[in-house]
Structure formats: C-alpha cells, structure tokens
C-alpha cells in the first residue's frame, strides 16, 4: 500500500527533475550561444581594426606623393638607436645654447619645446630633420608633412619636413611647432600670444645679437636652451630628395647621417636635462651621453 501511494509522487518528482534538467540544458545552450556571440563580436572588432588599418594604410599610400611622405616620415622618425650611437656628435656645428637666467617653458606639467620657422626658410629646412629625429625619441609625431624651401633663397628647394598641421604626443615633453609662412612666403601658422611672447623675448637681445633678432628657425627647449639658425651645414642636403635624406639618416657613415643624427644627439642630450634623464633608453644611450659630454666640455 505504502509503495503504491509513493508511485504518483515519485513520478511527479521524476518529471520535475526531468523538466529541471531540460531547463538546465536550455539555459546552458542559451549561455553558450551568448558566449559564442560575444567571442564573435570581439573577433569582428579585431578583424574590423585590421581591415580599417590596412585600408587607411593603402589609402595613405594611394598616391605616389603620399606614399613617399609616409616613407620619408617613417624613416625620419625611426632612426635606430644603433645609428645614433655610432654617429655621436657627428658633423654637428652647433649645439643648443643655454638661455641665461632662470626661465622655464612648460605645458601640461611637462617641459615644452617651441619651434618657430617657415617653410620657405632653408635653415629651417635643415634644422627640422634633426628636431624631428630628436623629438621622435621622446614621443610621437602625427601628420608631419613634407615640403621644400623657397626656390629663390639660398640653398634653394632644400627638401624637408613641415610642422604645419602636425601634432606631437609624449609623456616627457610638450611640443608646439609653427611654420609662419609657406614656401612662397604666404602666411601659414599664427603663433598664439603665449608662444609669440616667448619668441619675441628670447629671439631678441640680450639673448641673441641685435642683427639676429627675429631669426628663424628658433627653437626653445623648455626655456633653458635655444637654437637660432641651422646647427649643421645646409649644403649636405643640397640636391637630395626627401627620401634620400631620410634614408641617409639611417646610415651613420653618410654626411647627412653624421650631420642630422649628430645634431639630433645634441638636442636629445639637452632634452634629457629637461626630462630628468628620461627615458633612460634615450638619455643613457651612447650617442646622447657622447653629446652631453661634448657639450659639458665646450
């Protein structure tokens, strides 16, 4: 009797267990579907990144000139440490000079580098290669362009880069670069009041001789050091294409490599004093320490 009474409840319990198992199975299937969908979404995002990156790259190299610009910029901003080490101070003729007094130029809590030049100016064309090579060791440029200096000035048509429209990001330094005129002397970038004041103050007596006041290129390194004019002989770039110059920067035995990379080492050594010798990978590198030693002895 007791067994007969238990049968309906056992059947109900079994059915309940079966239903629970089915529900669990269904839940599991749902979970696996959700998981597979999530994995799929992540994969789609990764594939989309790769496709957009590839398309962007192929678009940026869609025309011969933009492909060339990309190659030039990549080469100029990616000089290997070994090349800098081998060049040392190279064929640099001048180094960033200390600004008398106790000035400082900062932005966002970081030492700031201010460059003022113009695209027509052959000395700016010369100096830009070294400034770009040096700053690229501390951060990343975006949208650097290429241009040539004026066809009617000394060292005509010197191939160079342009800071017009470029930006720079670094955790060590801030950078503002202005090209005040294009290669045909038409107005280009306007200096904001703050940077204009720095330019007008330090690119004038007593910081520079009276006849050099307002000269470009003018580069202020954190208010501590400055460059006025080209730091190496512009003649080494004469007749060279952008790509030839950029490639030569990777050759420590070339005249261009010695001049541009040597100047970049000197600028880097000064920048290292502003960043507290950071990053060490740059500031303790043989090229930079050789440059620092050369300047301390000068």
């Amino acid at each position: 009797m007791a067994r007969r009474k238990a049968q309906p409840s056992e059947t109900t319990a079994r059915q309940a267990k079966l239903a629970a198992l089915r529900a669990q199975e269904a839940r599991k299937r749902r979970q696996i579907t959700i998981v597979m969908a999530a994995i799929g979404v992540v994969l789609v995002v990764i594939v989309a990144f790769i496709i957009v990156y590839a398309v962007t790259r192929s678009n940026s190299s869609g025309t011969a000139s933009s492909a060339k610009t990309t190659k030039v910029v990549n080469a100029a901003t990616g000089v290997p440490p070994g090349v800098f080490a081998e060049v040392g101070t190279g064929a640099a003729k001048a180094s960033p000079q200390q600004i008398p007094g106790n000035h400082s130029l900062t932005a966002d809590g970081k030492p700031k580098v201010l460059y003022v030049g113009a695209e027509y100016c052959p000395y700016c064309a010369t100096e830009r290669w070294a400034v770009v090579a040096a700053l690229s060791r501390f951060g990343t440029f975006s949208d650097l362009g290429t241009t040539t200096s004026s066809s009617t000035d000394v060292y005509p048509d010197t191939a160079t880069l342009s800071f017009h429209g470029a930006s720079y990001s670094s955790k060590y330094l801030a950078f503002n670069g202005y090209e005040t005129q294009d290669r045909q002397n038409r107005p280009l970038d306007q200096l904001p009041a703050e940077d204009k004041k720095v330019f007008q103050t330090f690119d004038a007596p007593p910081y520079v001789p009276g006849d050099s006041a307002g000269s470009i290129p003018f580069v202020d390194l954190g208010g501590k050091y400055m460059i006025v004019g080209a730091s190496y002989d512009p003649q080494v770039l004469h007749g060279k294409t952008h790509l030839e110059i950029a490639k030569a920067m990777h050759d420590p035995s070339s005249d261009i490599g010695k001049a541009v990379d040597g100047t970049a080492n000197l600028i880097s050594a000064r920048l290292c004093t502003l960043t507290g010798q950071q990053p060490a990978s740059v500031c303790k590198s043989p090229g930079v320490t050789a440059a620092a030693k050369a300047m301390s002895g000068s």
């Binding site: 319990a13 267990k17 669990q24 599991k28 979970q31 696996i32 959700i34 998981v35 999530a38 994995i39 992540v42 995002v45 990764i46 990144f49 957009v52 990156y53 962007t56 990549n74 080469a75 990616g78 290997p80 440490p81 501390f138 951060g139 990343t140 975006s142 990001s169 670094s170 955790k171 060590y172 950071q278 990053p279 060490a280 990978s281 500031c283 303790k284």
Partner: protein
C-alpha cells in the same frame, strides 16, 4: 536536511588552460613592468616602421591616470590567476563566477582599446604588448566557454528526493 554544498563540475581544460594563460600573461606583463621602471633600456624588440616596442611603451598612451598599463597587466593576470585556481572554479555560487567573467571581459576590452591605440594613434606595434592582448583574448574565450560549461548539481536536493537524508 543535508547541507552538503552543490557539486560543481568544471571542464578540466578550462581550469588548466586559464591558469596557464594567466601565468604566461603575468610573465609578459611583469617583463613590460620591469622595462617600464628600468626605462626600457633592455627592451628586446626589433624595430621597424611598424614593429616598435619603444615607441609604444614610452608613448603618452602607456599610462592611465599615472598608472602604467604594464602594472595594470600584472594586477589583472594576478587577479585572474587567483580566480582561475581550481578551487575558485569549483566554488559553487554565482558571485565568483560572475567576477571571473567580468574580469575576462574587462581584460579583452582594455586589450581592444590598446590595439586601437597602437594601430590608429601610434602606428606602431609592440610585440610584447600584442602577446598580452592575445593572452587576454584567449583568457576571455576560455573563461566564457568554461563558465558556460559549468554544471552545478545540488546533491542535497537529489538526496532529499532519494529519501537518503
């Protein structure tokens, strides 16, 4: 009433794969952290137009609110390593399981952000960072699939049903 906790069946592959991935990720992130605090002086990475570890690890994107991503990577893989211990996988209840899945999702989202930064902001790829990103993705897959495959059986209720209490 029997108070035996429910028995949790976890696929062995999920437990061990997740642990191995966490260990590898921890090693990779620890190396990047070491490089960060030694100013990348010994970073062994080839340099080309696209592959450039130094450009990535010394960029302004290498930190978030002053904390290096490399350090966050160490914390992430340590935390996930603890959550992926066999005892943690087999612990019944949802909170720990949800925490593990949330951690894996957070890891893969951060990895996607960093891949975006490398490709579209820096135009440079750091191989060690890519290693961490791949491991984060693998961990996400393993944790997600492993969590979905978990079977939790309530022994207590079955024993109640069997009348074996």
């Amino acid at each position: 009433m029997d108070r035996t906790p429910p028995e949790v069946h976890v696929p062995a592959w999920a437990v061990w794969t997740s642990l191995v991935v966490c260990a590898l990720g921890l090693l990779d992130a620890a190396y990047l952290t070491f490089e960060h605090y030694t100013e990348s002086t010994t970073l062994a990475c080839s340099e080309s137009a696209t592959i450039n570890c130094l450009k990535v690890t010394t960029s302004s994107y290498a930190d978030v609110f002053g904390v290096p991503f490399a350090v966050l990577g160490v914390v992430f893989f340590l935390g996930m390593g603890l959550l992926c211990l066999p005892v943690a996988w087999r612990r019944p209840g949802r909170p720990l399981r949800l925490l593990r899945v949330a951690g894996a999702v957070a890891g893969v989202l951060v990895a996607l952000y960093l891949v975006w930064v490398e490709l579209f902001r820096l135009d440079a790829i750091c191989l060690y960072c890519t290693g961490v990103h791949v491991l984060s993705f693998v961990l996400f897959v393993v944790v997600a699939l492993g969590s979905a495959a978990i079977v939790e059986e309530s022994l207590a209720s079955e024993r109640e049903y069997d009348g074996s209490t």
